[in-house]
């Protein structure tokens, strides 16, 4: 093989048409869409579109189904402002904000999980298992208890995202600092340290609650289970803002994101500034997890399961980033729907549902990781 650079002409000629790319033996690879897409693999795109469609369907179902059922047609009319007043009130003021919050929070958790699992190369390194969500919880509870003295009801909410963000970043910094050895972090150490941090923070949250006024504490408890009840547009807005801020830089870092799954040495040898990329990707993950936690409480297992489900759906070796977000959104919407319907008219916190489904999954993951020795 020559060491000369690739002939330019070939690249530019190919850069101006959408072409089916075939490998040497005629195996169809996908469509080439220069200059942006690289090779688009039909399965990945199809899965992403289907999951997005599922999320949209779950959103509509979530708005339509409830104690006062509203047909899909009426939902659309209520949204466009042509429907009846009752339906419009229920859709616009009650159900849509809640469904939107579920969608955005689920997407944020899915992305946060994919980022952290990829960067640490460990499927157990999920924000809800290694202290990031716990840090956000501690910060959020602290903000509620401090802010709650002056503001009544959900009025203390505006301080929660900041408390959660501070708590999550402190927790992440501690995890990162303690897992850092010889110029790198290993996923295994990161998870072990994170479980310790999680324990310490849970204790701290407990201490804060024990000291607090009983009414404040019970309100914080509901938030801590992870609940979407009574969520308004302000919650959706925060989660949306976090996604808007984090998704573009993360997509710009998509190649370091993919290569981080190949180990530091290989990634560096392929020209990725590993340390910088890892910090940025982890920061994005922490911000997404913190803001999602602030909006809906530390809903467990979505961040853990969404990337792995997405990877199995797309059948790629890498964790698909955007698909993970879409899967997370769908999961949380469906879980919330289940939380509302299973024991209707009693409504469960959504965290109970994700926990009930997620815990067996975690056990399965642990036994499997142990068998194949892949947890490290």
């Amino acid at each position: 093989m020559s060491v000369r650079p690739a002939p330019r002409g070939v690249a530019t000629a190919a850069a101006h048409r959408l072409a089916a790319v075939r490998a040497r033996r005629g195996r169809w690879v996908g469509w080439e869409i220069p200059p942006f897409g690289g090779i688009v693999r039909p399965r990945v795109v199809t899965v992403f579109v289907v999951v997005l469609g599922l999320a949209a369907a779950a959103l509509v179902a979530s708005v339509s189904i409830g104690q006062f059922p509203i047909p899909v047609g009426d939902v659309v009319r209520a949204l466009t402002g042509t429907g009846g007043a009752d339906a419009a009130l229920i859709v616009r003021e009650l159900r849509l904000p809640r469904a939107l919050t579920a969608l955005l929070v689920g997407a944020a958790f899915g992305l946060a999980g994919a980022l952290m699992q990829a960067v640490t190369r460990n499927p157990l390194a999920s924000p809800d298992l290694i202290g990031i969500s716990a840090g956000a919880s501690t910060g959020g509870v602290a903000a509620m208890l401090i802010g709650g003295v002056t503001a009544a009801g959900a009025g203390s909410y505006p301080t929660v995202p900041f408390g959660a963000l501070v708590g999550a970043i402190v927790a992440a910094t501690v995890c990162y600092g303690m897992a850092f050895r010889d110029g790198t972090i290993t996923g295994f150490r990161f998870v072990l340290v994170g479980i310790g941090v999680q324990g310490a923070l849970t204790a701290l949250t407990g201490w804060l609650l024990a000291r607090a006024d009983i009414n404040e504490a019970s309100r914080a408890m509901v938030w801590l289970t992870g609940s979407l009840n009574g969520r308004g547009f302000e919650h959706a807005w925060w989660a949306g803002l976090a996604l808007l801020c984090c998704v573009p830089p993360v997509v710009a870092l998509i190649r370091p994101y993919q290569l981080s799954q190949y180990g530091d040495d290989t990634a560096r040898a392929l020209g990725v500034p590993v340390d910088r990329a890892r910090m940025l990707l982890l920061l994005a993950s922490v911000v997404l997890a913190a803001v999602a936690t602030a909006a809906a409480g530390p809903v467990g297992f979505v961040a853990l399961a969404a990337p792995q489900i997405a990877r199995r759906l797309t059948a790629t070796a890498d964790l698909p980033l955007l698909t993970s977000g879409a899967v997370g959104a769908t999961l949380l919407l469906l879980a919330d729907l289940a939380a509302r319907l299973v024991l209707a008219p009693i409504e469960l916190p959504v965290g109970v549902v994700t926990g009930a489904i997620g815990a067996p999954y975690l056990m399965w993951l642990l036994t499997r990781a142990h068998q194949s020795g892949r947890a490290g």
Binding site: V3, R27, I39
Partner: protein, 276 residues
């Protein structure tokens, strides 16, 4: 043809200094083998040459320019490294892995192209892994997997290739297979190669230039036939041995002293060894 030179390097992990005042030259277009006992700093030296480890003092020069001056991307277009135990995600196919080698040439406005596809095909063909292109990496034998990793480095199209213990964990036939491949690539492309090897005989056989290290210093460097002597092996490995000539390539072969098999007389140093 590019030389890689380490000049006055001080190599340390935190407070633990591995090498001090370390000089090394990889001659252009030649295969250099780094040999020495365990923990003598060979892999550390290779990591410093690849800029995976920043030296506390001194500098590494690629041609005339210090490698610290290259951007990540520029360096990856000039220098490829195969780590000792590379990792890949579960279930990746051979072709997808080798395609990652084109990363240093891609930008968001210049994504995957036909030229990249062709280069990947050539890398697969050159390493004899074209037949495995659609298989999962997990399914392959150790030797095949090592060939695939070398194909990844080849797809980077660099004038310099560094290999950290490319033959470790492979059985003898695969070791020879990988070394033959490296020699072939070096001959065909004039690639400057450096590899850390454990087997001194293989190093003598395949390297043009041998660097013997002990405790973070270069004890001897030069063509194996001139450098490898019983004294050197004693000094570097603390092993008594005799040097004989390889019947195939005429390169030095190290035969350890020590006990002979039970019930057989030892051959004294002056006695002739008959090769059959």
């Amino acid at each position: 043809m590019t030389t890689l030179v380490g000049d006055g390097l001080r190599l340390a992990y935190g407070d633990r200094v591995v090498a001090e005042g370390f000089d090394i030259t990889l001659p252009a277009g030649k295969i250099t083998a780094l040999v020495g006992p365990n923990a003598c700093g060979k892999s550390t030296a290779l990591r410093a040459l690849a800029r995976l480890l920043t030296p506390a003092a001194g500098a590494v020069y690629l041609g005339d320019a210090p490698i610290a001056d290259f951007s990540h991307r520029e360096l990856a277009q000039r220098l490829a490294l195969l780590p000792q135990t590379p990792v890949a995600p579960d279930g990746i196919t051979v072709r997808d892995l080798v395609a990652r080698g084109r990363t240093p040439y891609q930008r968001w406005w210049r994504q995957w192209s036909r030229a990249d596809e062709e280069i990947v095909d050539r890398a697969l063909a050159a390493t004899g892994t074209a037949e495995l292109a659609d298989r999962n990496l997990d399914e392959l034998s150790g030797g095949q997997r090592q060939r695939v990793w070398i194909a990844l480095a080849l797809a980077q199209q660099t004038p310099v290739l560094l290999l950290d213990e490319p033959t470790t964990y492979l059985d003898l036939a695969f070791q020879v297979d990988v070394l033959e491949l490296v020699a072939e690539l070096n001959e065909r492309n004039g690639t400057t190669v450096a590899m850390v090897l454990h087997d001194l005989n293989q190093a003598c056989r395949y390297a043009d230039h041998l660097v013997a290290m002990r405790a973070g210093t270069v004890v001897a460097a030069g063509p194996p036939a001139e450098v490898v002597t019983a004294e050197l092996v004693r000094e570097v490995f603390g092993l008594e041995c005799r040097i004989i000539s390889c019947p195939v390539a005429g390169t030095p072969i190290v035969v350890p002293e020590g006990r002979s098999r039970r019930g057989r007389p030892r051959v004294s140093p002056g006695q002739e060894v008959r090769l059959t």
